[in-house]
């Protein structure tokens, strides 16, 4: 590391943003990969790897990945839920790595829901 100048603080902060937004649990987008037994056996782990790869390749910051259990619709796994800040969550079903990549570039990067893979918008009512 050469000696820092004032502007280097911003550069480091920018480089570290992905790591730190993860720590603080705040971000522009949250991707939840459903990893119940059903999801895992249908290939959820491959979906997760593909999505992480997309994030790395496109250098997308401000996106956090999370796992959760079975979303209840085992026959349509692998499933993911995408939440953009301030918007209702969207559930995608019957995913493959290719579909996941397309969802990443259209929904996460450009903010456009991929209607043909989407199951529903919103969450179940609880309590």
């Amino acid at each position: 590391m050469s000696k820092m100048r004032f502007e280097d603080l911003d550069k480091i902060t920018d480089r570290m943003r992905k790591v730190m937004s993860l720590r603080e649990g705040s971000s522009q987008a949250k991707i939840t990969v459903h990893m119940g037994t059903c999801g895992l056996s249908a290939g959820a782990r491959k979906i997760m790897k593909a999505l992480i790869q997309c994030a790395d390749e496109t250098a997308t910051k401000d996106v956090i990945f999370s796992t959760s259990a079975c979303a209840g619709l085992c026959s349509r796994e692998p499933m993911i839920t995408i939440e953009l800040a301030g918007q209702a969550p969207v559930k995608y079903v019957d995913l493959t790595e290719e579909k996941a990549k397309r969802i990443f570039s259209e929904h996460i990067v450009n903010g456009k829901i991929v209607a043909e893979y989407a199951l529903a918008i919103g969450s179940e009512q609880t309590l």
């Binding site: 590391m1 050469s2 000696k3 820092m4 100048r5 004032f6 603080l9 480091i12 902060t13 480089r15 570290m16 943003r17 790591v19 730190m20 937004s21 993860l22 720590r23 603080e24 649990g25 971000s27 949250k30 990969v33 459903h34 990893m35 119940g36 037994t37 895992l40 997760m48 790897k49 992480i52 790869q53 994030a55 790395d56 956090i64 990945f65 999370s66 796992t67 959760s68 259990a69």
Partner: protein
């Protein structure tokens, strides 16, 4: 770490390390590797998280799930369930004392929810061994602002306007201290960070250095700019090995990044920091004793005819600030004085870190705005008293602080209120005592500590504290006389008036405050030869209730003195001549038949 989607923030503060957090780290890495998750889930060691009672603790981010009391055996099922299958493990989550259902998210746990973190802003969030994580959380921006956009006078003005007061105990306005050092012309000036934390049960400074060492370094550099000093020195006790290691590493990294050394941020400002290890004498936390210690002399306080800001270390202008004071400085510069002055009470601004220990459920490190009541700290954050016993007293301000009773629970905590109540802020120790604590015994304990730690220079402190200790010990042993109480008051006042340094002038506080608020306990010891809390052994008599005794002979077999006798199937008896009042019989009895009077 690039592609990880989950970070496991595992606490590596001293408390959790001694509970095996490095073993947990190895187990986590092994299990993650076994499931081929090592590229998705990263294990990050952080500084003290504050919730030491539940250690080893770990926060899973971004989910915000909080795991506690982890053991090696918990790790394989945890990794498989949570990180492979995405099912957080309820069993390992924190269950608040007041409810039965585990609470998974940190933001929902009372202990964390009511705190406001400024000095501890990065605790548990960053890897203290990685300077870039500190920078990404706003680190070194205070220094950048101070060097790029402010004159030294403006920095001092800002600190004065923030009304920041020293967090080491006395509460002297930090800005005023800096201004005084800035006014005195000298080729060399020193900024010393006082990390000689010596109060029993206090660990604020250690945790800050372990968890966020750069915050302290940045604060020191800003102080250096303000007063025109190029030399910083951290006086830290050698008993803090983890803090020392991280401090040295942080200094090394800051030098590599050009944030310490020559021409910082390409300006004309040079500043570097060295570390001085203290051997752990309590009195070395006192400014003139610390100076003597650094200069290689016996660590005895000396009369302060001139301020250290004029002629301190090596007779040069010196600013001595506490760790916590320095750690908040960068945030004040970054966010402005008005922000800081908007928190707290009339005369005490900002927040204060307390180490909450003793008979409280959630022991650990808490940071709250000045003016928070003792009740909020002990009951809402601390979760109340262990075993749901009754609260009796809280001792604030370390060994030379005072014990405050239940009637003062609703008192807002700040410098003035604590002093009015006969205690003090000190560095922020807070020891909670329940109904099973004998206040006379507590006074004896603290006097014993101070008797050991008195440097012996002033007669009043050396002889007076010893004499008070003897009197209080006599009272504990059942040999107290009524006139001892007046004598204790008089001695206490004399020691207070005739000692040179703060150790002596506050050494009477434990006695004077317990006499003030718990005189009934002293009376009971002296007049009735009775210890109401059942602590002072000389005043206890163990007996066996023949109605309750089932003659199981468990006490008989366990008594180390063979003081218990009796036939089979008949109630047992204790021979008072032989009994050493160890209490084993009471502990083993399943029928509550052992009585203590």
């Amino acid at each position: 770490m690039k592609s990880c989607h989950t970070h496991l923030l595992l606490c590596a503060g001293t408390g959790c390390v001694s509970n095996g957090s490095y073993r947990i780290k190895e187990a986590l890495e092994r299990e993650l590797g076994r499931h081929n998750l090592q590229d998705e889930v990263a294990v990050v060691m952080t500084g003290c998280n504050g919730f030491c009672a539940q250690g080893p603790v770990m926060t899973v981010q971004p989910d915000g799930i909080f795991y506690q009391l982890l053991s090696d055996a918990d790790i394989p099922p945890l990794v498989e369930e949570h990180f492979l299958k995405g099912r957080p493990v309820q069993r390992l989550m924190y269950t608040p004392p007041e409810t039965q259902a585990p609470i998974p998210k940190m933001s929902e746990i009372g202990f964390f929810k009511k705190q406001r973190l400024i000095a501890l802003r990065n605790r548990g969030l960053i890897d203290p061994e990685n300077i870039e994580e500190y920078i990404a959380r706003g680190g070194y921006r205070g220094l950048a602002k101070a060097l790029g956009a402010m004159t030294p006078e403006r920095i001092i003005e800002e600190i004065k306007n923030s009304q920041l007061r020293g967090r080491g105990g006395a509460g002297y306005p930090t800005g005023v201290k800096w201004q005084s050092a800035a006014r005195h012309q000298s080729d060399v000036k020193y900024i010393i960070c006082n990390a000689d934390e010596g109060d029993p049960g206090a660990f604020m400074d250690r945790s800050i250095i372990e968890g966020d060492p750069h915050a302290v370094l940045e604060g020191m550099a800003i102080a250096g700019r303000a007063v025109g000093s190029g030399h910083g020195l951290v006086y830290i006790r050698a008993e803090y090995p983890i803090a020392l290691e991280r401090l040295n590493l942080a200094i090394k990294q800051a030098r590599e990044y050009g944030l310490l050394g020559k021409a910082i941020f390409d300006t004309d400002f040079d500043f570097d920091i060295s570390v001085f290890q203290g051997a752990g004498a309590f009195v070395c936390g006192e400014s003139s004793a610390m100076r003597a210690s650094i200069q290689g002399e016996p660590p005895e306080p000396s009369a302060k005819h001139t301020h250290a800001t004029e002629a301190g270390l090596w007779e040069k202008p010196t600013v001595l600030n506490n760790v916590e004071t320095l750690a908040v400085v960068p945030e004040i510069i970054r966010r402005g004085a008005a922000w800081f002055a908007g928190i707290g009470t009339e005369q005490s601004k900002g927040t204060k870190v307390f180490s909450l220990v003793g008979k409280v459920k959630n022991t650990g490190l808490v940071e709250v705005p000045m003016g928070t009541t003792l009740r909020d700290i002990i009951f809402d954050i601390g979760g109340g008293i262990q075993g749901d016993r009754k609260f009796k007293a809280v001792q604030t301000g370390g060994p030379s602080g005072g014990c405050l009773p239940a009637s003062l629970l609703d008192m807002p905590v700040d410098y003035e209120r604590l002093a009015e109540a006969g205690s003090m802020m000190g560095s922020g120790g807070m020891i909670v005592m329940d109904e099973d604590t004998c206040m006379v015994d507590v006074a004896r304990y603290f006097l014993d500590f101070l008797r050991d730690e008195s440097c012996g220079k002033c007669t009043a402190c050396r002889e007076g504290v010893d004499a008070m200790h003897q009197l209080v010990s006599d009272i504990c042993a059942g040999n107290g006389k009524q006139e001892h109480l007046a004598l204790l008051e008089e001695l206490g006042q004399a020691v207070k008036d005739a000692s040179m340094c703060a150790l002596g002038s506050t050494a009477s506080n434990p006695v004077l405050s317990t006499l003030r608020y718990f005189s009934d306990e002293y009376e009971a010891h002296i007049r009735d030869h009775r210890c109401p809390a059942g602590v002072c052994k000389a005043l206890l008599t163990f007996g066996i209730d023949p109605e309750k005794c089932k003659a199981c002979l468990l006490c008989n077999k366990n008594c180390p003195q063979t003081a218990i006798s009796g036939e089979k199937k008949k109630p047992q008896k204790i021979d008072q001549e032989k009994c050493i009042k160890c209490g084993v019989c009471r502990d083993v009895c399943k029928f509550d038949a052992v009585t203590v009077q």
